[in-house]
Every structure is written in C-alpha cells, then in structure tokens.
C-alpha cells in the first residue's frame, strides 16, 4: 500500500477529514505500518504507552482486567484510533487491545501525535468528541452491567 492510499484512509477518519494533504502525508510517512496476526496483543494494560494506533484493516477488542477476570469493553473496526489516552496523559495503558482478526495498523508516535494536535485544533476537538463518546458508551455499559 502506498503513501497516497494511506492518506486516503486517514482522510476517511473524521478527525483528519479537514487536514491538508501534506500534513496527512507527514503523518502517514512518519508512522510505521504494523500487521498483527489474529489473537496477538497490540499492548497490555499497565504497559508504558509511546504510540497510538489507527486501524487500517481488521478488528480488535479492548479488554479490561477486572477482579472477575478480563472483560471486553469495546470493539474497534477500520478507521478507529486506539491507544491515544496513554500518550495524551502519560499514564500506563488503561486497557489491553487484542487483534480479533488479522489486523493492519498505522502506528503513530507520541511526538508526532502531539505535534498534530498542537498544530490543528480541529484534531483536538475531534479527539475530545471521540473521548466523550467513548465515555458515554462506557457509562452505558456500566449501567447495563450493574442493572444485570
């Protein structure tokens, strides 16, 4: 897959939709492409976080360790951004992410990610929106679980 195709993928992700293409090229060019086989872990809860992942193809589960054992709290598909919390706040990974199919990702380094957020406020807004949405989903799931 070439750089231009990757730029197209990035453009399909809402938070990158309005960013000029040379910046997306920089993002694509400076990120690495990693492929995970089914069942492989991208990272585990408690690891140091130094990069975020964009799913180019495939699916992954987000799993949290609880007292009752691992609990799958979310499921990510193509175009999703994963792992940005750890690089935003310098906390260890808050969850484990495991590939459920063969998974093709773009790995964005912490430094590049910050640069983009600083330079393009709309990425920051998009991330806020995404995080809020995720918080709401998590809350809903907690309500579900406590009701059950």
């Amino acid at each position: 897959m070439s750089l231009n195709e990757e730029v197209e993928i990035l453009r399909n992700i809402p938070m990158f939709a309005n960013i000029e293409s040379s910046k997306l090229k920089l993002l694509a060019f400076t990120s690495e492409r990693h492929t995970y086989s089914e069942g492989e872990f991208l990272f585990r809860q408690g690891d140091e976080g130094d990069s975020a992942y964009i799913i180019v193809d495939g699916e992954a589960d987000v799993i949290i360790d609880t007292d009752d054992g691992p609990l799958t709290v979310a499921h990510f598909r193509k175009n999703a951004l994963i792992g940005e919390i750890a690089i935003l706040t310098d906390v260890p990974r808050t969850a484990t992410v495991q590939a459920t199919t063969r998974l093709d990702t773009m790995v964005v380094s912490k430094e590049l990610f910050f640069r983009l957020v600083m330079e393009f406020p709309q990425i920051g807004v998009e991330i806020m929106r995404e995080l809020a949405k995720r918080l709401e989903a998590t809350n809903a799931r907690i309500r579900e679980l406590t009701a059950a």
């Binding site: 070439s2 195709e5 492409r33 990693h34 590049l112």
Partner: protein, 909 residues
C-alpha cells in the same frame, strides 16, 4: 632463589625474557655522554675511523682540480711527463687526472654515504635502546608513583622529547673531531704565514669561548622550563579528555580554555625569550667573525704599506681565514645542539628514577618460584604508609588458610583497599612482612605471584582488543609456541632478532602463541574458548556474550564447522518459521525476487559489502555501479524516481522547523540541505536528463538508493523498476571485475556470508517492517533454533571476538568488572585476591557472582576485601579491619555477636 628453579624450560621454548646486552636493574646514566660511551663506544670508534678515512679523500678532491689546472692544462712547453715511471702525453695526463678526480669524488661521496648511514643507524639504535630502557622503567614504577605523574606527562617524554637524542648520538663524537681537526689545520697554515696575523685571527676566540656559554646558560635554563611547560600542556589536554563529561556538566569549558590559554602563553613567552637570546648570540657571533677581517684589513694593510709584509701573504691569510670561519661556526652550532640535547636527556632521565622501583630480576626471571603456595599466608605486623606519615595499614597481623575463603571487612578508611594491594604485592609494605610458601612475599618472583595468584580490583582495565585476548591475558607469560605460518627461522625473523639485540630490546615474538593452556587446565585454543564461555556464564555475562556472538562476524576459513552449523541454523529457522506460520517475519534473499524490506542499494548489490568500495550508503557513487545502472536502463528511471522522491520530501518536510528530529529519523536529506533540494527541483523542472547539470543528475540518482518499499511506502519503486533492478543485479554479478570481487560477499542460500553477522547469516533475509514485534519474535525463534541444534555455546564462543573498545569503553562498568573476575578465574589461581571486584553490579547480580566465584574457587584460597560486610556470611573466615589493624578474626558465627566490630559494620550497612 636460584635453588628453587622450577620447570622453566619446556621443550621447544621460544626465546624468553633474557636479552643479550640488557642487564636487569641497570641504573640510567645521568649524563648523555656516559650513556653514549657506555653503550656505543665501539660504534663511535667506527664513526671516527670513517671520519679519518674521509679526510685524505676530501683533500684529494680539493687537490686534484688544482693539479689539473696548473699542471695538465696550464703547462705549455715540451710535453712528456714522468708519472710513476711511465711517460705520458699532456692529453693522457689530463685524462688520468680527470678520471682520478671523478674516482675520488665518487669515493668521497661513497664514504660520506656509508658514514651517514652508519651514524644514522647508530643514532636510531641508541634511541631505541633508550626508549626501551625508559619503558622498562615504567613497568618497574611503584604503583603509588602513578598517583603523582600522569600519562600525559610520561608519554611525550618517551615519544617526542627523546627523539632528537637519536640524531645527535650518531654524530656526537665525529662532528667536533672533524671540524676541530679542520680548524687546527687552517690555524696552523695561518700561523705558519705570520704569527701575529695568526694571533689576530684567533684573538677573539677566547672571548667567544667565554661569552657564548654564559649567554647559552640562560637559553638552557629556558629550554628546561619549556620542556616542563610542554609536559604540563600534554597533561592539561589529557585531563580535559578524561574529564570531558565533567567539563560539560559544569559549564567549565570556558574555564578550561582559559587554563590552556595561560599554559600556551607561558610556552609562548619562553619560546620568544629563547628566540631573542638565540638570535642575539647569533648576532654576536657573526659580529665577532667580521671583527677579525677588520683587524686584517687595518693591521695587515698597515704592515703591507710599511713594507713588513707582502700583499701575497695577506691575501693568503684572508683566504685561510675565510676557510676558518666555516668549521668554527659548525663547532659553535654543535656546542649549542649538544647543550640542548643534554638538557632534554637529563630532563627525561630524572623523571624515571623514583624511589622504590620494583626489582627487575623478579620480573624477567624464568624462575617460577616454589612449586606451590603452601597452606597459609601469614601477615605479621604489616604496615603501609603512602606519604611516610599516616599509616593506612598499621601493624596488621593475621593468618589465612589457602584452602579456605577469607573475607576482609572494614569501613572505607580501615585500610582494606591497601591491604588487598599489599597481599597481591602490587604495593610494597613499609613495615612488617607477608610470608607465603615459606618465603617473604617481596622476594618471590613475578612468574610465581602473577601465575599462582589472581587479583581483581574495583576499577579493572581492559585492553583495547577483543574479549578473548582480555580473558587469556593471565595466561600470556612467555612465548610458548611458534604458530604455523610465522616467520620463525626466516631471514626476516633473524633480522628482527639481530636488530633487537643491537638495541638491547627483547627479541620475543609477540605474535607467537603465548597462551599457557596447561595453566588453564585445557589442551588447546578451542577448549580454552569453551572454558571462557563457561566462566563468563558463571560471572553472569552469558546473555551479553551470546548477543556479541550473534552480532559478530567470523571467518569461515578459520571456523569452517561453525560456518557450516550456521547454514544448518538458517535452514532450521526457515522451517521453524514455516511450521509456525510466521514466515512473514522475514523476507528472505531470493536472487529472482526484489526484496521489499531492503534498500535499492542492497537489492542491487545483492550481497554484503566486505570492504570500503561498496559502502551501502555511497553505493550510487561507485563508477562500476553507475555503469551497471546505465546498462540496465535504470539511469533515467532513477533520475525520475529521485525527482519524485525529492518533491515528496520537500512537500512533507518543508514546514518543519530546521533541526527537527524527524529529519534525522525519516527524511532522505537533512534540514540544512532543504533549500538546496528546493532549488534543485526548480532548476531541473522540465529539463530532460541530458540538459541537467552533471551533479544534479548525480544527486537525484543517488537518493532512491536508500528507498525501502516496505518501510517508506511511497510507491515510487514500481514493479517495472523492480524488474529493472533485478536485471541490474544480474549484470552486477556477471560483470563484476576480479579486482572488486573481494569487496562484496554475494547472497547465496547455500554459502556462509563472511561479511555478515552470524544473526544475518541465520536470517538470510530482511526483517519485515510491517510485522509487529518482528525483531523480538525472531530473536526468540533464533534462540530456540540454536538451542535445538546445540549451537548456543558455539555462538557464545564467537562472541569472544567482540572488541571491547578503548580501555573497555564499549562495555558497561558492570560488564568490565565481570570480565575482570572471569580473567582472574581462568588461570586457575591458588589464591584469588579480590578488592571489591563486583561493586558496580546490581545487588542481585553481586550475590550471584559472589556465590559463583566462591563455588568455582572451592578448596582454593580466596581473600576478598568486601564493600558490603553482609557478604561475609558466605566466607569461612573473616578478618575485621579497623584503623589498619586486624581487630577481630573468626567465623561469621563466632564474630556476629553483641558489641563486636563485625556487628557494628553489619548494622551500619
């Protein structure tokens, strides 16, 4: 000690430390003249003889032209001359004289050549002798002396400062004699003409002889100062290099610069003063030289006018005086040189005579001392004081069993460091004694202490070679075997020995095999390597060694079986990858396929550079590669790819601030080159390749060589270009000139690649960029494969070739200490003395290594000066040191009680 002479003489021994002409413990001659006379009296006589021989020849070369002109050419009347009883025509006579002249010119030149070569060689021999003597002195310096003199001071003494001495020695006796003789001859001639004029000509000599040395004296003193200041400069520079981290960390670079500037100023003022005085002396000299002709004109002229002297006599005297000035000048020059050399020599010699030098006979002897160390080491009222006042060891008395392990504990100021050094005889006690094997420790030869004892201090030194040579350093005492392929017995070797003896240097061959395998309890090199691996594993260095091995190279001709084994591992890894469906982790090298995880350069070369010619980073510059590219039809294609690549880079990186980390990490050119490439793009826009400037073409064509499709994902290297690159690869391999064949190891699935690391040989491909954690997964797989083939030890043995860097700088402080412990164990000492030794290791590793070393030394002696008293639990016997005295001794259980000194130490830990 001669009665103890042990089996020193093995069959087939190579020359040992005995050196003809070199006497151990010989004092250095205080004056250079005595040095010259002592070591080159005979050669100086030869130089003199050659000088005397040259005199009549030179005389003849001066005399014959006169005869040719006066007698052969100038003669007119009735020719026929008697020469040696034969009659001769004028022409024949002229020819005889002319050829005679030619003969003596050649002879004179020949004698001069022989004399110069002989004198030059003599000077070099004497210089070599002097340097060797000085170096030998360093090996005898008492260790505390090195706290006072620095490397920076000592090195220039042996290298630069004595250098002019050699040139001087060759001519030391011949120059004054030759020119002195010449002077006397001319003086005799003048005096024969007229005594008064003779007196006039030499009237100023006494003044010159009196005044010049006076003036010279100050120059000599300044010369001494200069030597001292230059040494100080060397020392300052050495300190700056050693303390470079501290200089930066403390913003002290300005301060250091100021210090150096002041030093340079001192050297400058001294040199300036020297020049001023030197030229003043010169001025005075030439003034006096011209004063004499003044007298000749004035007084001689008066005498001629008065009729007391003929004008012919005056001109003759003037001519003679002109001849006189040249040898006189030479003599004065010689005097100045000699004075300068004398200062230099003495300034060096006085630095090489500290008190307390080691006895050299104990170092150079073949007497290995008593057969064994015996059962105990006894310390009686041992005292040590570095400055002669405060005693760091003060009457320590105790006894140590040499089949048990003894710990010495005490606070940092208890004298525990010094005691360890004293017991290892690295410093000498200032009172009391240490007895070992029924002898005084100080009297035992170094071949005894250095072979039966090991010592490991807290700050080990590793020599700038590989791990292997550092580990077997304790086994290299004498040359034992002359390895195959060396020049033993050849003319070259005999020349080496002859010249070594002429300068009283040791003649032992440093490239012979010095390793004493018996001492390590093994039979040969291979067994010793296995032992090294085991011992390094023991001191917790096994994993590092394995990594060194994997990332090192081997020569398949030296180690054919290992190369073969690596090919097996290559095959095994491939099938393991296939079995576990992980073959995507590596993209193997395939002659028929483009490797998308490799650069274009690597794809084209399809091999590993074995020399400098095909450096991957500069491959595009190589003329042969350029030719191949043209033949494969890639030239214009690469130009276009280069343009697109430049455009992309400019587009992506143009907005980044200069110096941003991304440039280094990702870009194909640095931020400072950005404007150049922008101009290049503008300049070449719309140009056909032919229209472009040559260096533009070259630049654009070079860039794509670094492209890795799987990593950069720019889509620039299309299928078509890849196909052309494969063609270029074929052309490269097929037309590679013989001259360049050794410069590249082509990839071949069935052959070991000598230029690649062991790991790359096993992988035989590139690690895939796209696969997550590929490197980690592969290293685990390679480990499995090597274990299943029982090759891990062989790879570790290959790691012994790892270069440790200058002073071991490529290893961490902890690794250096581990290597040092291993070095101490490998020679299987009867007694291992350790001073801290493992203090840089982390806590858990310290305990592991301590246990392992004690386990290995079971039944043999260990004396360990511990930095952590808690470790004393592992020892059979403990000596507690306080204020330089042994205040408690016994087992841990005996000493660990309320109020004991040991308990006190344990509680403060």
């Amino acid at each position: 000690m001669a009665e103890d002479r042990a089996e020193g003489n093995r069959p087939g021994r190579l020359p040992g430390p005995e050196t003809p002409g070199y006497r151990p413990n010989v004092p250095l001659e205080r004056s250079i003249f005595r040095f010259i006379m002592k070591y080159s009296k005979r050669q100086q006589l030869v130089v003199l003889a050659l000088t005397f021989i040259s005199w009549p020849i030179i005389y003849l070369t001066l005399e014959l032209p006169k005869a040719i002109i006066d007698q052969a050419i100038g003669a007119r009347e009735g020719w026929a001359r008697d020469v040696l009883g034969a009659e001769m025509e004028q022409i024949t006579f002229l020819m005889v004289l002319s050829f005679g002249f030619l003969f003596f010119v050649i002879l004179s030149g020949g004698v001069k050549y022989v004399l110069n070569v002989y004198a030059g060689r003599l000077g070099e021999q004497m210089l070599r002798r002097l340097r060797y003597m000085l170096y030998s002195r360093i090996l005898r310096f008492p260790l505390p002396h090195f706290k006072k003199v620095s490397q920076g001071e000592i090195i220039p003494m042996i290298t630069a400062e004595v250098e002019p001495v050699g040139g001087y020695i060759g001519t030391a006796t011949s120059t004054p004699l030759y020119f002195g003789g010449l002077l006397l001859v001319y003086l005799g001639f003048i005096f024969a003409q007229d005594v008064y004029l003779g007196l006039a000509a030499t009237a100023l000599y006494p003044l010159q002889i009196y005044v010049i040395p006076k003036l010279q004296k100050r120059v000599i003193a300044l010369g001494k100062d200069r030597v001292r200041e230059v040494r100080g400069l060397a020392d300052n520079i050495g300190e700056s290099i050693a303390g470079i981290a501290e200089i930066h960390a403390n913003d002290a670079s300005v301060y250091e610069r100021a210090g150096i500037a002041r030093r340079l100023d001192r050297i400058y003022t001294i040199r300036y003063e020297i020049f001023r005085r030197k030229f003043a002396i010169k001025f005075l000299n030439s003034f006096m030289a011209q004063l004499t002709p003044f007298f000749f004109y004035a007084i001689g002229g008066y005498l001629v006018i008065a009729g007391d002297m003929t004008i012919g006599a005056l001109t003759a005297v003037l001519a003679a005086y002109k001849d006189l000035s040249s040898p006189w000048k030479e003599l004065l020059n010689y005097y100045q040189l000699q004075a300068d050399i004398k200062v230099k020599y003495e300034a060096v010699i006085e630095q090489f005579d500290p008190p307390g030098l080691f006895d050299e006979t104990l170092q150079l002897t073949d007497d290995a001392g008593p057969e064994s160390m015996g059962r105990t080491l006894d310390v009686a009222s041992l005292a040590y004081s570095e400055d002669g006042q405060s005693k760091s060891v003060d009457g320590a008395s105790f006894s140590v069993d040499l089949d048990r392990h003894t710990a010495i504990v005490g606070s940092g100021s208890s004298g525990r460091d010094e005691l360890a050094l004293l017991l290892a005889r690295l410093v000498k006690g200032t009172g009391g004694r240490v007895d070992l094997a029924g002898r005084h420790l100080d009297d035992l030869p170094e071949p005894f202490t250095g072979r039966k004892m090991s010592f490991a201090g807290p700050i080990p030194y590793l020599f700038s070679t590989d791990l292997r040579a550092n580990l077997d350093y304790g086994l290299r005492h004498r040359p034992l075997r002359s390895p195959a392929g060396t020049d033993a017995g050849t003319a070259q070797r005999n020349r080496y020995i002859r010249d070594a003896h002429a300068a009283a240097n040791i003649d032992a061959d440093p490239v012979a095999d010095w390793v004493d395998y018996d001492a390590a309890g093994v039979s040969d090199r291979e067994a010793l390597d296995r032992k090294c691996v085991d011992i390094l594993r023991l001191v917790d260095l096994g994993d590092d060694l394995y990594r060194f091995g994997l990332h090192g190279t081997i020569d398949p001709e030296d180690r054919p079986e290992l190369a073969e084994a690596m090919l097996k591992a290559r095959a095994a890894l491939r099938s393991r990858l296939d079995e576990t469906q992980q073959s995507a982790l590596v993209e193997p090298f395939d002659r028929a396929r483009y490797n998308t995880n490799a650069t274009l350069a690597e794809n084209l070369l399809f091999g590993t550079p074995a020399g400098a010619a095909f450096d991957i980073d500069r491959l595009a510059e190589h003329p042969f590669v350029r030719q191949v590219i043209h033949e494969a039809g890639l030239a214009d294609t690469l130009l276009e790819v280069g343009r697109q690549l430049t455009e992309t880079m400019v587009e992506i990186f143009a907005d980044l601030p200069p110096g941003h980390a991304f440039f280094d990490q990702f870009s194909f050119f640095g931020s400072e080159e950005m404007p150049e490439y922008q101009q290049l793009l503008a300049r070449t826009a719309g140009q056909s390749p032919e229209e472009m400037r040559e260096d533009d073409r070259f630049r654009l064509r070079s860039l794509p060589f670094k492209l890795i499709p799987a990593r950069h994902r720019l889509g620039l290297l299309t299928e078509d270009i890849q196909a052309k690159a494969l063609k270029a690869r074929e052309i490269f391999a097929a037309t590679l000139p013989d001259m360049l064949r050794g410069e590249v190891e082509l990839f071949d699935p069935d052959r070991y690649n000598r230029a690649a690391t062991l790991q790359d040989n096993i992988l035989f491909g590139k690690v895939s960029y796209g696969e997550a954690n590929a490197a980690g997964k592969l290293s685990a797989l390679i480990g499995d494969v090597l274990d299943s083939l029982s090759l891990r030890d062989a790879v570790m043995a290959a790691g012994l070739a790892h270069s440790v860097g200058v002073g071991g700088a490529r290893l961490s402080a902890a690794q250096r200490q581990k290597v040092n412990m291993a070095r101490g164990l490998i020679k299987r000492p009867e007694l291992f003395i350790v001073n801290e030794g493992i203090s840089n290791l982390d806590g858990a590793a310290q305990r592991r290594v301590l246990d392992a070393v004690l386990g290995e030394m079971k039944g043999r002696g260990v004396i360990w000066s511990l930095h952590r008293p808690g470790f004393a639990r592992n020892f059979d016997h403990i000596v507690v040191l306080k204020g330089g005295r042994a205040v408690e001794q016994g087992s841990f259980a005996e000493l660990d009680k309320e109020g004991s000194a040991l308990r006190e130490l344990l509680e403060t830990e």
